[in-house]
């Protein structure tokens, strides 16, 4: 083999006639081995840190574990008790309300913002960075900040804004009718910019000629949106819907920080129920059972997500 004299070139570089491997089998075997070696570390890390504890969590969900004391195998009793308790079903319902309520608010908002930002060109990108700031904040920081803003004492920001129009301080976070909507709004505030990014990219893929043709045809703004924009960003919309669904379903920190699941359980989602059962009540066996339930729901959501995008990302042999 000729060693190239020029530095910077890989010492393994071969002249062209030796670039073809000697046999297909060796090549395949080497390729497989290299492939395994490349995937191995990532896989190992994930299995050790994500998957193994999940198995242990499942094992523990079949036992009576309270405050770190394991009292033995009880089979599916945790699950049965959970499914029989009305609080569980209410929690599932509230998770659905929170998730889809947030989606209903976030997606149109993100679309609006995406359209607006695209119209603004270069300034639009600066605006986008500004709008992204909430997403850069930790959920616990978001909860602290909004708790402070919404504090119903006369000196609070929200209370003062209301006072300007002559209204008394509103107990937004502790009023049973307003708690869930408020939490949804705050959750959306934190995340809608992220959705906008994806939609902006999707909008960018629509050829401008289509709009020009539509203008020639005399189509109005709304019609242009319905006939051109909407159908062509459908793939991006799907992505946004899927990612946000998973994100909202698993959101628990802002609820812990803002309302502690109240008032009167109005914001107790399944995630909060897990926190309350496993970390406050310290019924760890039952908490793990809720965790398994959430895991299954998450898995369904992710599989659905990937299937929806399946054709998009599969392009290798």
């Amino acid at each position: 083999m000729v060693m190239p004299a020029t530095p910077g070139h890989n010492m393994d570089a071969r002249p062209i006639d030796q670039a073809i491997p000697r046999s297909i089998e060796t090549a395949n075997r080497t390729a497989r081995r290299v492939g395994i070696a490349l995937v191995g570390p990532a896989l190992g890390l994930i299995i050790a840190i994500n998957i193994l504890p999940a198995f242990y969590g499942f094992y523990s969900s079949l036992r009576k574990v309270f405050f770190f004391q394991d009292d033995g195998f009880i089979g599916l009793q945790n699950y049965i008790e959970l499914l029989q308790s009305p609080l569980t079903w209410q929690a599932i319902g509230r998770s659905l309300v929170f998730t889809f309520g947030s989606l209903a608010l976030a997606v149109p908002l993100a679309l609006l913002v995406a359209l607006g930002v695209r119209q603004l060109g270069a300034r639009g990108r600066l605006l986008l960075t500004v709008i992204l700031v909430p997403w850069a904040m930790s959920p616990i920081v978001v909860a602290l900040l909004w708790k402070w803003i919404l504090l119903p004492s006369p000196g609070g920001l929200a209370a003062s804004l209301l006072a300007v129009v002559g209204l008394p301080p509103a107990n937004l976070l502790s009023d049973p009718s307003f708690a869930m909507p408020t939490v949804i709004v705050i959750g959306v505030w934190r995340t809608f910019a992220f959705a906008s990014i994806i939609l902006i990219a999707g909008l960018g893929q629509i050829p401008a000629d289509l709009y020009r043709a539509a203008a020639v045809d005399g189509l109005g703004v709304i019609e242009r949106f319905r006939k051109i924009t909407f159908p062509l960003i459908a793939p991006s919309l799907l992505i946004v819907l899927s990612m946000l669904t998973i994100s909202y379903f698993n959101e628990v920190q802002i609820i812990i920080g803002l309302t502690s699941g109240g008032p009167i359980h109005r914001t107790t989602t399944l995630g909060f129920l897990l926190y309350e059962t496993g970390f406050v009540e310290l019924n760890q066996g039952r908490g793990n059972a809720i965790a398994i339930m959430m895991f299954l729901i998450n898995l369904m959501l992710i599989v659905g997500y990937v299937k929806l995008l399946g054709d998009k990302t599969r392009s290798e042999a």
Partner: protein
Amino acid sequence: MRPTRRLALIGFSLVAAIVALGPIIWAVSTSLKTSNQIFAVPPQLIPTEATIDHYRRLIAEGVHWNFLNSVIYTFSAVAIAVTLGALAGYALVRFEVPGKRLLLLVFMGAMAVPGFAVLLPTQIMFSNAGLFDTRLTLPILYAAHIVPFAVWMTRAQFASLPRELEQAALIDGYGRWEAVWKVLLPGARPALIGAAAFGFLYAWNDYITATTMVETPQLRTLPVALIFFQGFHGRDWGALMAGVVIATLPPVVMFLLFRRYLIGGFSEGSVKG
């Protein structure tokens, strides 16, 4: 651009900016007010008596160490995760890895595990391995949570790059790995940066894992340290808001520096096939 349309766009920009930035500006304002001004009625945006006492208090309580911890853990985790993830993503696209579909399922399954749900078993595992409450605990944990996402994003990106690129490089006399470095990775830059940004945000902003897996005050991260200002004596809003401001600065700075890549990264990694 028609004047009404321009006006509408400006109005829209203003509203969006106020909604997004208003709360954090209020946090900055609160953090600079003296304690007896904080509850004053009516509240003022610009404090009449400005003070940096709250920030001083944060530093006195060692918040800068927590800040440093957060920085170290986050960068390590992101570096490890993006490297391992990119290697795996590349392998899944270009090599005949046995059980590819099963592997993809495993990677997806890992993303489905809600982190805080497996905290207790993780704590026991780490403790038995002697890794609980150490400098390595959080980098390893965060990296493990970021890796599936990094694999997924880089895989999509690599898949979209034509094989001809590598083959052209091979013909040019580069070895396989040189081809990867010089040709493939630059093309995958958006996905790499997207994964790095996502990972950075996840690790920087995490609270639940950090508070459970690290107990020594000197090893704590920033979000965990902030909670102490909601302590036994009530809430010190001035200090809390100062903490909010400090905690938000690095991600925002990151966004500003990398916004070109970010916006590109997410779009290409997920939309383009």
